[in-house]
């Protein structure tokens, strides 16, 4: 069906003016990239970031204030930028190019191997000096822009969803963790001559945490380094399962994580672009779990080559570590298969068993061949490939660069190994679910459309089923956009968490009993 009218997509005069202000700020950055040497860097950096912020704030105020609080999705599919139109492609390509330069050609941003920074990196030197006492790097520039994006688009998001306290509080949380934990804390630690460390960046999302250079850095930093290392281990093996059991993976993915933070704020205008087909879901399961296997293999290999052979130096030797890891993985799989096999689909079972067999086989082949490698390649090589393929190409270039085309959670959905682990915990051992309210669903599809993870929420809601999906990050938008009050995110008893009633509430009791008996 063709829709020609685009009235709701039009920008008001104030919004045009605000866009102009923001673009001037952005233009200063572009000039800096083009090597314009600003005389007073502090002034121009402040001006640039200030204008971008002010522009966004004015735009958001004009867009949302003065209107009733409520759902504000008018014209989303008509707008070029949010409806995969011309400007969406321009933005997507620009972001992609930015990531390519950032990762592989930082010299074009002004990073000089010998000598002081130039270009845009030099523009950020004063801020970096202020926080960490060092000149800026391309990562500092990126981190600053990332944080500014979460702050200003977080503000916009809060205005947009100001009727919904869950969304408001959640957004304050992602802003807090980005600004405090991801941006300031590591830089301040550097200033204090401590290792660069963000406690909220947990392995395996932070795939470098257990690599040799990082462990050496921790160990040479004395007690505080050991605490950091220990916290990293406790995070993934103790804190994560407990919090996911209590609240679902949302405690991390949409409340703490930086990737999630950007997706929920700057990425919010693109959340509806995710693919909802069953085919996409299938691809998602294979790809994300493959990444998880890759990162596990890589980390085992790196640690293996880092450790020594002699028990006298350190109790954790190559052998102990390797067979310990193999044993741990086997135990984990055994527990899941014994206690939770009913909840796994057929392909999940085959996939899990397949992966385990492959890992164990490779370990034994390489171990017995005695070539010093554990997975055919040296640990550092696997790490390099992982960093290139997953760390840079997947999470950066595709994950964020393609926001305006594939939606805001491509990385979180298809690529993030942390999300894969939390997802398994959520699916199998969690009190979290999205409850469907009896028979009230009208199958309108707002929930599915605005699910950034591409979950077909409606498919469950219209059957009266609760939604228990490993990929759900608990952003709460399905519940917010539901016009009939059908969905609620909640933590409750495990009993009845996954229900399937063939006939919806509202019918006479006999019919419901009858059909439910049959389905058991």
């Amino acid at each position: 069906m063709s829709l020609a009218a685009e009235a709701p997509a039009k920008l008001s005069t104030t919004q045009r003016l605000a866009s102009g202000i923001g673009l001037v700020g952005l233009f200063i950055l572009v000039l800096a990239v083009a090597n314009v040497n600003f005389p007073n860097k502090t002034l121009f950096l402040s001006l640039s970031l200030g204008l971008i912020t002010v522009g966004t704030v004015i735009f958001a105020n004009d867009l949302y204030l003065g209107k009733h609080a409520g759902i504000k999705n008018d014209g989303v599919w008509f707008k070029s930028l949010s409806g995969r139109g011309f400007w969406a492609w321009i933005l997507g390509i620009s972001l992609t190019l930015f990531y390519i330069v950032l990762y592989w050609y930082p010299q074009y941003l002004g990073l000089n191997a010998d000598g002081a920074n130039t270009g845009i990196i030099a523009l950020f030197d004063p801020l970096s000096q202020l926080i960490s006492g060092n000149p800026a790097s391309q990562w500092f520039v990126y981190g600053t822009l990332y944080t500014v994006a979460i702050l200003i688009f977080g503000y916009k998001f809060i205005l947009k969803y100001r009727n919904n306290r869950y969304e408001v509080i959640r957004t304050f949380s992602v802003i807090f963790f980005q600004l405090g934990f991801a941006f300031l804390l590591p830089e301040i630690l550097i200033r204090l001559n401590q290792p660069y460390y963000n406690p909220a960046n947990i392995w395996p999302l932070n795939y470098d945490l257990f690599t040799d250079y990082k462990i050496n850095e921790f160990l040479s930093a004395g007690n505080i380094g050991v605490i950091m290392l220990a916290f990293g281990l406790i995070s993934i093996f103790v804190i994560t399962p407990i919090l996911t059991y209590k609240y679902g993976k949302r405690w991390y993915c949409s409340w703490v994580c930086g990737c999630g933070g950007l997706a929920e704020t700057a990425g919010d205008p693109y959340r509806h672009l995710s693919n909802k087909s069953q085919y996409a879901w299938k691809i998602e399961r294979w790809v994300i779990h493959s990444v998880l296997v890759f990162v596990t293999v890589m980390t085992i290999a790196v640690l293996y080559s880092f450790l020594g052979d002699s028990v006298n130096d350190f109790w954790l030797t190559k052998d102990v570590f390797l067979w310990g890891s193999a044993g741990f993985l086997t135990l984990l799989f055994a527990i899941i298969m014994i206690f939770k096999r009913k909840e796994l689909a057929k392909d999940a079972k085959y996939g899990a068993i397949g992966y385990l067999v492959v890992i164990l086989a490779i370990i034994s082949i390489n171990y017995l061949s005695g070539n010093g490698n554990i997975f055919f390649f040296a640990g550092y090589q696997l790490r390099e490939w992982y960093g290139f393929l997953i760390g840079a190409v997947f999470s950066g270039v595709i994950g964020v660069g393609f926001y305006p085309i594939f939606g805001s959670r491509v990385w979180c959905r298809y690529g993030c190994p942390m999300a894969a682990i939390l997802g398994m915990q959520q699916r199998l051992f969690s009190r979290f679910r999205i409850t469907t309210n009896g028979g009230q669903c009208i199958s309108c599809g707002n929930c599915s459309t605005y699910c950034e993870m591409g979950i077909d929420v409606r498919a469950y809601a219209q059957k009266g089923e609760n939604i228990v999906r490993s990929s759900c990050v608990g952003c709460g938008i399905c519940s917010a956009v539901c016009p009939r009050g059908v969905l609620k995110l909640e933590n409750d008893d495990l009993d009845g968490r996954i229900n399937s009633e063939e006939v919806l509430l509202g019918n006479d009791v006999d019919l419901m009993d009858l059909v439910n008996q049959k389905s058991e």
Partner: protein, 428 residues
Amino acid sequence: MEHIVIIGNGIAGITCARHIRKNSGAKITVISAESDYFFSRTALMYVYMGHMQWNHLKPYEDWFWEKNRIELKKARVNKIDFEEKILHFASEKTLDYDKLVIATGSVYNKFGWDGQDLKGVQGLVSKQDLELLEENTQNCKKAVIIGGGLIGVELAEMLKTRNIEVTFLIREEAFWHNMLPIQDAKMISEHIKSQGVDLRHETELDKIISDENGRVKSIITNSGEEIECQLVGLCTGVRPNIDFLKNSELETDKGMLVDEFLQTNIKDVYAIGDCAQLKQPPAHRKSIEAVWYSGRMMGETLAQTLTGNVMKYKPGNWFNSAKFFDVEYQTYGQVSALPGENEMHFHWQHKDNTKAITIAFESNSNKFLGINTFGIRMRHPVFDKWLNEDRKIDHVLANLKQANFDPEFYTRHEKEIFKSFKENLQEF
């Protein structure tokens, strides 16, 4: 193999088809002249407002139907030969059936106004109506909506997103007062006005005036006022879509008359959804319910009968929902617009006028009858249980917290509601 043919691919027909397939291998054909695939009619508005695209309206992906061996046919049935069990299509082709389910839904009412067939005058029920609305609002600055029901308020919301000025004529003294008690209706009226809609209470359409091209240029109200407009939305309710069966052996009144098994007067012919009229509706239910939920439940019930498990249509406690601009509405049980002798209402309203509840109970026994809730989500299963258990209003108010379904961290009002009830108790 038995051939079950369903005319109409709306919620009633499609639910019936799906549940037949769950229990039987019969051949199933679903016929529609409206759309290739089942879509959610309730969400038409969101396509116009740019919240969704047409594809999002389809609750099942296109491969679903073939996989479940439900044949879809796009055709219009002109005539049915009930004797020979043959459908005659507009294309002059035919189709045999063994059992026939008629689920043709509703069409919007026209009450014989002058100018009701002019260009720019339309209702909003079908996919074609939505396409027409798109056309009719290309150069539209002002619109008049006739009739204060659920489609009327949706149409008002839709048009406002296109910056079209809306005048909204309703017959009652407050919005939807034929269904809502007066305080509820008044609150919604205020909310509609606050959205910039020119809402006229107790105003009806007299006639629609044409310009020189046969297109609407204004309307005249029953008080004689002329209102300029380029679009007239006819939202004065719907009626069963049964015109193609007039003058057949099928027994009809307003809708197709069916017994408690949803069977018409002709053997092997059934009617469900909006187009069906129950000869003996259950207590507290209407004979025609043009509601998504009723269509779905009829589909579920009839599928049982058609697959050998003969079953009466017995809907449980009444429930419904809607959204008036930014205010969500849910209802469970019976809350009369004009309470009779033994029905009392307790009304609580938040000071910002976006939240309210009205609880109906029996004045002599204090038995809880039903609740209307605005801006506060409530749990369907909890109220269904309380209604089945014949709970008293004291129990409902004391346990209202259990029924709350608002998102986490929302401000809760149970204490305030309870206090308000106690304070007003003297009045009752």
